[in-house]
Symmetry: C2
Subunit: 428 residues, 2 copies
């Protein structure tokens, strides 16, 4: 345990002293091998296998409880009941709506937060019924991140079955507000307002993906809602007046033509369009949401500048093209999301442990960057990663999102995902 | 009454024999003058003046009962109660939702329908509270066509107060579905399904406007909902896939650049935009509604062709600009409204009476074309016009729609609007 305690000290300090880095990397590898070879871990893996159907039942059941942004309550209550049934202590819904419970440690250890997010991107009213097509389960949100929620419950049952105890306190959280408009409100509350806020030493969020997927880069994102307004009017009687839809059409086209770097990966998206009251009215107001992301701070700022710079010309063109007698078209760009670019260093214990476990399990670790709940602790300087939960999914955020079931592979990867947590928490 | 009976025969045949046209035009003028100069009409005018505040109370009260397309029920029930209180017979809500009641004639006359539409363009949830600013009343829908609804009640009370009797049966209707998506469903039912369908000899719809406004041209309209679909996906993970929003942006821009004739007046509009699920998802589907209108059949068809022709290139450009690995962008253009171009000839009795009354009242008649409930009977060959109800409004279909009150002028124009009906119905 001495090595693990040293490792903990390492990640609590973010970066181990340079002189120790090489030797500790070796010891993480050794520890990971020892853990995977232990009889207790074999019991945990056997429990995951025995328990697989229940895990899939939870996946299906939770998926079918809609959880649109800001409307995660029903799913949060269901998850709370499942955490309670699992025998966690201090099970509660916090003020922001996160469902959470504590698996207490043997004492004296840090607090580790393990999270999967409750919310999906799909708005209220989206039909959500899981369709089974052979081994594939298909439904909006089934992967992102309902698979993480189901996996957390599977880890808990496996830890219980194998009788694992650990030094750290582990807080299991189904959190709200990870997607789009939520702007990380769940984890933000946890780290800045919640009752554990000053005790959290490390954070792992589990998202769909196989073991070895280690997201230690926090892709920064900037999100805008841009509204275009005008005088409105009757489509026939007031024909010829400026129409904000044409200004927005031009702006959308402009966004679609933005050029971005391939590396560091930089992206943009027009996501939601809305506006107008009826087919025969010139709209009073139309709006779009735009998402911009980058692994590079500078690239993200450059993209923001280019994006903002194309709005006024689109509005000017419309005001020049039609009659402004009743008023001009104008725009407002409102920042609705701002996630800092962040990174948990490759030399932190958290990343090294996840890497060592993957390697010990015969999997090549793949470090990468994304925009997840881990961005928030990263921005506060707290070691954080997002790991593949073991279940894999495809077509995330699309209506035909799916999880393809492959029991032997799924069990192997669930067990490796759990192993990183066990090692980090000083399990014995 | 002989002249009036001849007039009726004239409008029932649509066009009077050419040899009679000149002499009858003179007689309509003479009849109109006689009617306006009669003591009974003076009583009716006095009643409109005495009753003015009640008319405005009805205007405000009805405006504040929301009546979005397909959701006119609450306002229809309220209007039904007002028609009943007015002592009409056969007061009922028909199967389509029109509120109506009969002012019976002395017998042997035709059935005339007098209508104002219940629906507004404003969707559910639009705040509708009438604001008074000096003499101006402001609220969405207060003019179009709540002013017509209130005017019909005022006419009825004035007819009662003056003791008017008339040969024709007059059906007073608050009809549903005049605006946009309703596609004239209320009057369509009345003329093709309702119990009076084979008896209707003429139709007047009252809309906001002063007397002398005579809409005898039915502007044709074609309305489309165009949806653009694609594979969707995660804004970051799937960046580079085709996005239907960019195809639609290009199509919107294309619509905005269409060139149309000034005469016959031809117009287009992009009205409602929608689509996408979240800021951080590539939309699966986006859509827009497009309204095209013309007084000319050929011009409308030409506009339709130009519009439809720009959709495929917009889709092709997006499929060429980005990755179609997960699927291509496609579009579907669904016809959601189709109102034929129509006209009630200037030589029909209906138009000549309205014209003669305006002239007798010292107002220059202004014939014109629009797209109203009258389009439907016009398309069936039944004489139909839309007349200004007497109350005037501004900024129709916009959120700052208003009615400016001017009691002496309003009363004068309400009385002239009523006079056309009285003459047509063979009142004595």
């Amino acid at each position: 345990m001495k090595q693990i305690a040293a490792a903990m000290l390492g990640w609590m300090l973010l970066v181990p002293p340079p002189s120790q880095a090489a030797s500790e990397a070796v010891s993480y590898e050794a520890q990971a091998k020892a853990l995977l070879a232990s009889p207790r871990f074999a019991q945990a893996r056997a429990a995951l296998e025995r328990d697989y159907d229940r895990t899939i039942d939870h996946l299906v059941g939770l998926t079918e409880i809609p959880a649109p942004p800001f409307k995660e309550q029903a799913r949060a209550q269901a998850y709370l009941a499942l955490l309670k049934a699992q025998g966690l202590s201090d099970v509660e819904l916090d003020a922001e709506g996160n469902a959470m419970g504590l698996r207490r440690g043997t004492g004296g250890g840090p607090l580790i937060v393990v999270a999967a997010h409750l919310d999906t991107v799909f708005p209220e009213g989206t039909p959500i019924k899981v369709r089974r097509e052979g081994n594939t389960l298909r439904a909006p949100g089934i992967g992102d991140d309902t698979s993480g929620l189901a996996a957390l419950l599977a880890y808990l049952r496996a830890m219980d079955a194998a009788g694992y105890r650990h030094k750290a306190d582990i807080l299991f959280v189904g959190d709200v507000g990870e997607e789009g408009p939520g702007d990380l409100r769940g984890v933000r509350h946890l780290f800045t307002q919640g009752k554990y806020k000053d005790r959290i030493a490390a954070f792992i969020s589990y998202e769909p993906g196989r073991a070895g997927r280690i997201t230690n880069g926090g892709v920064g994102s900037l999100r805008y809602q841009v509204s275009f307004t005008g005088p409105g009017g009757h489509s026939y009687g007031s024909f010829g007046l400026v129409n904000p839809a044409y200004a927005m059409g031009q702006a959308i086209t402009g966004v679609g033509r933005l050029q971005v770097a391939e590396s560091p990966k930089t992206t943009y998206n027009v996501g939601v369009l809305e506006g107008g009251t009826s087919v025969n009215s010139i709209p009073h107001s139309v709006a779009m949401t735009v998402d911009m992301r980058s692994e590079g701070r500078e690239q993200l700022e450059q993209l923001r500048s280019q994006f903002l710079a194309l709005l006024q010309p689109a509005v000017d063109a419309e005001n020049a093209a039609r009659d402004t007698r009743e008023g001009k078209v104008a725009y407002e760009a409102k920042l609705i999301g701002d996630r800092p670019v962040g990174r948990t260093g490759e030399d932190t214990a958290l990343v090294q442990i996840a890497r060592a476990v993957a390697q010990a399990g015969g999997i090549a670790p793949r470090l990468g960057a994304s925009s997840t709940d881990a961005n928030l602790p990263m921005s506060l300087g707290i070691p954080a990663v997002t790991l593949g939960c073991g279940l894999d999914s495809e077509r995330s955020h699309s209506l035909d999102e799916s999880v393809a079931l492959d029991k032997p592979v799924d069990v192997e990867h669930l067990s490796l995902a759990l192993a990183s947590l066990l090692l980090l928490a000083g399990a014995e």
